[in-house]
Amino acid sequence: MTELRYREALNAALHEELQRDERVVLLGEDIGVFGGAFKVTEGLLEQFGERRVRDTPISENTIVGIGVGAAMTGLRPVVELMTINFSLLAFDQIVNHAAHIRYMFGGQVSVPLVIRMPQGAGHQLGPTHSHCLEAMFLHVPGLLVAVPATPADAKGLLKAAIRDDNPVIFIEHESLYGVRGEVPDGEDALVHFGRARICREGSDVTIVGVSRMAHTAERAAATLADEHAVQAEVIDPRTLRPLDLDTILASVRKTNRCVIVEEGWPHGGVGANLAALIAEHAFDDLDAPVARVSGADVPMPYSKPLEDIAYPHEPQIVRAALSVVGAAAEGTP
């Protein structure tokens, strides 16, 4: 184990995979000379040279498309989009091309492409620069979607993504880059997709926290235990495609209550998808409706006090957890 920042863990994953596999190539805006807008690729240009670490012009749709074409013909490109907000310019190459090419060409070719990008609010970047778009990506068959919350997952999942033969949407979080954590050593320490992480065990309520919200959920769980004697089990799905629904269901069958916490918009969000799946598979185990805590249904405002109330913090999660636990009291017969 080594203690690394989330940013450093990602950098280490890229470094190791570049070293391990000559076919790995990085493309993105300002990832080379500038070292990356969030410094994730710092030092890689110096180490691996311009052939493998390539600064691109500002042309998101084309950068992704070049990654698709290169992936179809023997390379394993890792494309960095400076932030997830700009992926909206590349949706055609991501959905109509990266995700569909294998299927529409009858399996003759694969697209081992990774698209890395950070999402999230908290830095007062305002509308157009604070999106959380997990829900849009998990909707699309053909893609894999990762939402690492810890340095260990960031490294392990990114290495697994680069080695996987499917196109992967790899969603980082701007507020997590500086977070420290223990990271397993060993160049083959992968974290497999489709395996949720139980961050904290508990018997009263299951709280699923997506991306950064896994941390917020953990803090809320601590408050619930300390101040309300409510033992929450906190689960971080780690990947949304594939989704480890079994681990979530097992927990819900134990706690009979569930709160889903996401930072994105509420309508058609990750929470809605999980709530629907849980209700379908564990309806009779639920003592209360699955509660959702999400970002506000607004473009993210710039002003600090408004931004603060526009995405979830502990108190909302604590309130939601208490309400489903309370609901159980009167609950169903």
Partner: protein, 332 residues
């Protein structure tokens, strides 16, 4: 004025153009008989742009085109049987029936596909060029698209990037005078399309897309220069589609006279006559070529007819590469 290739080569060009023409005609008939669904875009009239450019490619070079690509697959060597079976939506189709007319593909022959999103294949073509360059192979990628596609954002983005990175790609704009029902002058401010890459660092060339020899010569020259200079080029092929944009096109946007005029320049009889004048083709051989094309396409239709439809339980096949992370279909 370029000179003719070896007689057998010249005859093969003619035969391939005739085969594509016949294939497209029959496909149209099969569509009318509901054997083929979806949209069907025929390349009748554009055969010289297909065969001239495909023959300028070496085996290791890549070709990537659009939804109007039955001919590209056939010219690259995909058996017409597999292409027709794809149109019929059968398991023996070159894409197992998943893609259909707009999504042809033949990896083995380095035909990198048929793409139905206008402009969508340009970045992918550049990406293929990046692989060749990165891996140190001397392959060149030929990326074809239409005049209408030159207005798509990917055109500017991709040409700039290809020029900047000196990618081995020849971009070929098939100027058939229309983007669907919109004529060139009504969709592009600059109509001299060979110049449309200049501001992006990509010099242009032009060929007569109704003349297979001229197309072969110009595209061949472009491929050679790109391979040697490691700089992309744009080639404009001036041509015309004789049929509607797709099978559902009343063609009210152009006059019968205009179509008739272009049909006089039909690349197939034109090249046939040229070969006869040059004394490398006689009437009998010319008829034989027609008959063989006809018979081959008939076999393709029979093959497609006899090929089964995909089994229902194959619906989820090839969505993902299954591995230890992705077991079978995604949950749900």
């Amino acid at each position: 004025m370029p000179s003719l290739p070896e007689p057998d080569v010249a005859r093969e060009w003619l035969a391939t153009m005739a085969l594509i023409r016949r294939f497209e005609e029959r496909a149209g008939e099969m569509y009318a008989r509901a054997k083929i669904g979806g949209f069907l875009h025929l390349s009748i009239g554009e055969e010289a742009t297909i065969v001239g450019s495909a023959r300028a490619l070496r085996e290791q070079d890549y070709l990537i085109s659009t939804y109007r690509s039955h001919g590209h697959a056939i010219a690259r060597g995909t058996p017409p049987e597999r292409v027709m079976a794809e149109l019929f939506g059968r398991v023996d189709g070159c894409c197992s029936g998943h893609g259909g007319s707009m999504h042809m593909f033949d990896f083995e022959r380095r035909f990198m596909g048929g793409y139905a999103i206008v402009g969508g294949n340009l970045p992918i073509g550049a990406g293929i060029g990046l692989s060749s360059d990165y891996l140190g192979h001397d392959e060149v990628t030929l990326c074809t698209f239409g005049d209408g596609a030159s207005n798509q954002g990917t055109f500017g983005e991709t040409l700039n990037l290809a020029a900047l990175w000196r990618l081995p790609v020849v971009f070929m704009v098939i100027n058939n005078q229309f983007g669907m029902g919109t004529s060139l002058v009504r969709h592009s401010a600059v109509t001299d399309l060979q110049r449309k890459g200049e501001s992006l660092g990509v010099p242009g060339m032009r060929c007569d897309g109704m003349d297979v020899l001229d197309t072969y010569t110009v595209v061949g020259e472009a491929l050679r220069r790109v391979r040697e200079d490691r700089r992309p080029l744009l080639v404009e092929a001036v041509t015309y589609r004789f049929r509607g944009h797709s099978m559902a096109d009343p063609e009210e946007y152009r006059t019968k006279e205009e179509v008739a005029q272009w049909r006089e320049r039909d690349p197939i009889p034109r090249f046939g006559d040229e070969l006869q004048r040059a004394g490398v083709l006689d009437e009998a051989t010319r008829e034989l070529i027609e008959r063989e094309a006809d018979e081959r396409v008939e076999r393709a239709v029979q093959f497609a007819e006899n090929s089964p439809f995909p089994a229902p339980d194959s619906l989820y096949e090839d969505v993902y590469v299954l591995d230890d992370q992705v077991h079978g279909r995604y949950h749900g």
